[in-house]
């Protein structure tokens, strides 16, 4: 064949893992988070306080739970815009169950069950009927919330039991809330799922080229369906926590959550085109969004300004990773 002196064993990798970690998007997010943390502590004397910091976590935990599953979905090249509407429907169904005398375990099961059912419906429309997910979930966004409005009108459900309220308001230890513990636990599970299992590897393959993934024997539709169900499940879980924290259900509950969850995913370095991203980045992005909104709250910035901020952040973070990658390729 060819000159045998050319024949050498191929190394696993050439680039230094330490260097690529330092230059990564995640380390930039850590710097940004530290910066905002320092700014906040100068901006308000009430910020550096264990209870303030604990309150801060409530600003992002529910949305961040959705962002974990959304990250997987976006990496696979799909998206779910109906997550906030799923919360509304799940919360409404929990309210209905409450009217029939359901106690806490049943309420939780109803919330999560409705979430999974909604996700499965999205997943069926996308993988079974081959419809684009952005169109499907814009449709189901109106559909799910519309059902909540029909059931509730301008009413609201109240009177959730105390043990149920603990899920959204309770503390596991000192200032460490149940919501935060649950989020950290889920973050670890999703990290393992995405970065350490065959399932996660196939998600990346699908996101980079779903045709070639299918040609390589990956069951693309099955995996996408599971991801929609997971996103529904996390939305149902978020519905349980949010309903428990607020103590009531209104049809307008969780409005705008989908944009904040997607902002966290994209700010976390997940490519909006699919195929790239990490759970660590999404967790850091969730903390940053929490820090920023809490900081603005301390400065008494009104809510409407915050939505302007979220919108701008979404645009900036879609542009930033692209600029960052261009810069890194030159470096």
């Amino acid at each position: 064949m060819t000159d045998t002196s050319l024949h050498r064993s191929l190394p696993n990798r050439l680039d230094n893992p330490f260097r690529s970690a330092v230059l990564s998007w995640e380390s930039l997010l850590v710097l940004v988070a530290l910066g905002i943390f320092i700014l906040n502590s100068f901006a308000s004397p009430y910020f550096l306080n264990a209870w303030s910091l604990s309150d801060l976590t409530f600003n992002f935990t529910e949305k961040a739970l959705i962002a974990l599953a959304m990250a997987l979905l976006i990496i696979s090249g799909e998206i779910d815009l109906s997550v906030a509407a799923i919360i509304a429907l799940a919360s409404t169904m929990m309210g209905l169950a409450l009217q029939y005398g359901a106690d806490t375990p049943v309420l939780v099961m109803v919330g999560i069950g409705v979430g999974i059912a909604c996700g499965a419906f999205n997943g069926f429309l996308v993988t079974g009927l081959k419809l684009p997910s952005i169109v499907v979930t814009i449709g189901t966004m109106s559909l799910f919330r519309g059902i909540a409005f029909i059931v509730l009108g301008d009413q609201s459900f109240k009177g959730y039991p105390k043990s149920f309220a603990w899920l959204g308001q309770g503390y596991v230890y000192w200032v460490i809330s149940f919501e935060l513990v649950l989020f950290l636990l889920c973050a670890v599970i999703y990290w393992v799922l995405l970065h350490r299992t065959n399932f996660g590897r196939r998600i990346f393959a699908i996101g980079n080229n779903d045709v070639a993934a299918r040609f390589s024997g990956v069951r693309v539709d099955r995996i996408k369906f599971i991801l929609f169900c997971l996103t529904g499940l996390m939305s149902g879980l978020a519905a349980v926590l949010l309903t428990a924290r607020l103590g009531s259900t209104r049809p307008s509950i969780a409005e705008g959550f989908e944009l904040e969850a997607i902002t966290m995913v994209v700010l976390g370095g997940v490519s909006i085109l699919g195929g790239a991203g990490s759970i660590l980045g999404v967790v850091l992005a969730a903390v940053i969004v929490g820090l920023v909104t809490f900081g603005l709250g301390l400065l008494n910035v009104p809510g409407i300004v915050m939505t302007i901020f979220t919108g701008s952040l979404l645009i900036v973070v879609i542009a930033l990773p692209i600029l960052f990658r261009m810069w890194r390729q030159r470096a």
Partner: protein
């Protein structure tokens, strides 16, 4: 132009001189020349991959030649864009017409050069009446006001011709225009080509069908491996002479000797059918055998293989693997059964660009490299190293992005990926299309090793030397049907070409 007979010594309208065009690893065109004359049809003949499409793209401003010159009516022109080609009077009618379904027929005809009124706005009324006049002059029964999507493919061709007339094109390129037409529609197209000839247009007609070429062409040019190997007047040349020019090449590289012991039937297809693509296809491949599939593009070979691989569903027929009936509903099912497929579209369907070599190789084998669903990177690297080194992959590391590899090395990654699954049958669809000579030889040599180890190989190829050099037996397909299955002993290339193109024996002899 009344004296526009084929023997007239008028100057050509379009002249190409010394055109060369290379892509990384492939020389698509090498110093080719072509003249097109007013009022004449020149047939461009060649096997798949001979460089015909590349030449059309050079002539229509889509590719820029590396060397050579293009003259229109004696003037040297450069064609940096598709628009400049159209401005130079060159237009192309493609196999699948490139027109706009949602626009009206008139808009399609006048897109980019619509008549305008004094305000510079489109004069719709004038556009409509002139479009209708052009269509009527062609005796085309088409209303210029309806949307294009309401027309069938044949009528769309007529619209494309009307467009050529309306931009006053001097050179009309027809790239397999009859591929999707019925016999009656083909007759109508012939009438139209006569009309274009009378109008003094120079026509370049690309076709695989000899009956068509002999019916309407005045001159011909034969391409082989990116070079011009013959030209002349069609009436002075027999079909067998043309076939000889197409295939009569020197053997450009040595194929490995076939000495694998051939055993029992491994995969057998009986009467496989598909609603539109193929009908009643039967074949069997044995252990240690390379079964070649030869035919023209569109003969249905890839479609059959994709059905065997579970990508499309058949409407009838049975598949048997080692005596057991199988019915793969997805590629995942086929891979589990032991059938793998190396697709023709390497970049789109073969490799996952953006991912490193080792992840590409391990993807279908994750079940083996992992432990209870959890990744084990060391196992993945070991697997990838074993199979890529067997194929002599040229890369800097296993973490290199496959998009940075050459076509030949990407193909090695795809093959390595499948070998790692320890398949029983490996289907290779145009395995060496567009890859460099060195990688080609490596792939061929490796196919020999595969069958020596007892695998069964099905190779779809449109390259005659490859089919003849590698196959133990050859299945010839035409128009979705198996025409013949031949033992590859002292087989003449002319026989395959005749069977694939449907030329009768006595006519060609």
């Amino acid at each position: 132009m009344t004296s526009g007979t084929p023997t007239s010594m008028t100057d050509p309208i379009l002249t190409l001189r010394g055109i060369s065009k290379s892509f990384p690893g492939v020389r698509a065109l090498n110093d080719v020349s072509l003249e097109l004359y007013a009022g004449e049809v020149t047939a461009l003949i060649g096997e798949n991959g001979a460089g015909k499409s590349t030449l059309v793209k050079v002539m229509t401003g889509i590719y820029q030649p590396d060397a050579g010159e293009i003259r229109v009516a004696g003037q040297v022109v450069s064609l940096p864009t598709a628009h400049s080609a159209s401005a130079a009077g060159i237009t192309a009618i493609h196999q699948e017409t490139v027109l706009f379904d949602e626009l009206t027929v008139a808009e399609n005809i006048y897109l980019g050069h619509a008549p305008t009124n004094r305000l510079g706005l489109i004069d719709w009324r004038k556009m409509r009446t002139e479009a209708q006049a052009t269509l009527d002059s062609m005796a085309a029964d088409i209303d210029a006001g309806i949307k294009l999507k309401e027309l069938g493919i044949a009528k769309k061709h007529l619209v494309a011709v009307a467009r050529a007339l309306s931009i006053d094109a001097q050179v009309v390129i027809m790239d397999e225009p009859t591929a999707a037409l019925s016999q009656k529609e083909i007759e109508e197209l012939y009438v139209l080509i006569d009309l274009l000839k009378q109008d003094g247009k120079a026509i370049l007609f690309i076709s695989h069908k000899f009956d068509e070429i002999y019916r309407i062409a005045d001159r011909f040019t034969v391409f082989r491996d990116g070079e011009q190997v013959g030209k002349g007047f069609i009436r002075d040349t027999s079909q067998s002479q043309v076939v000889q020019m197409m295939v009569g090449r020197s053997v450009d590289h040595i194929f490995p000797a076939r000495n694998a012991a051939i055993g029992d039937v491994v995969l057998e297809a009986k009467g496989l059918s598909h609603p539109t693509e193929f009908d009643d296809v039967s074949f069997a491949v044995r252990k240690g055998e390379i079964l070649g599939f030869y035919g023209l593009v569109g003969a249905g070979r890839s479609e059959v293989m994709q059905a065997v691989f579970g990508l499309t569903q058949t409407s009838g027929g049975t598949l048997t693997l080692e005596g057991r009936a199988i019915a793969p509903k997805s590629p995942a099912d086929a891979v589990e059964a032991g059938i793998v497929y190396v697709p023709e579209e390497r970049g789109k369907q073969g490799v996952i660009t953006g991912e490193p070599i080792f992840k590409n190789v391990s993807l279908p084998s994750l079940g083996k490299t992992s432990k209870s669903g959890f990744l084990r990177l060391a196992e993945e690297f070991a697997l990838a190293r074993t199979y890529t080194e067997r194929l002599d992959l040229r890369a800097s590391s296993l973490s290199q992005d496959v998009s940075t590899l050459s076509g030949g090395n990407q193909q090695k990654v795809v093959i390595a990926k499948w070998l790692a699954t320890l398949p029983k049958v490996i289907i290779l669809d145009e395995p060496t299309k567009g890859i460099d000579i060195g990688s080609k030889a490596a792939v061929h040599e490796f196919m020999g090793e595969l069958v020596a180890q007892g695998l069964s190989v099905i190779m779809v190829s449109s390259e005659l030397p490859e089919v003849l050099g590698m196959s133990d037996r050859i299945v010839v397909m035409r128009e979705g049907r198996v025409i013949d299955t031949l033992e590859n002993t002292d087989l003449k290339p002319e026989v395959l070409v005749r069977l694939a193109a449907g030329i009768a024996e006595e006519q060609a002899a």
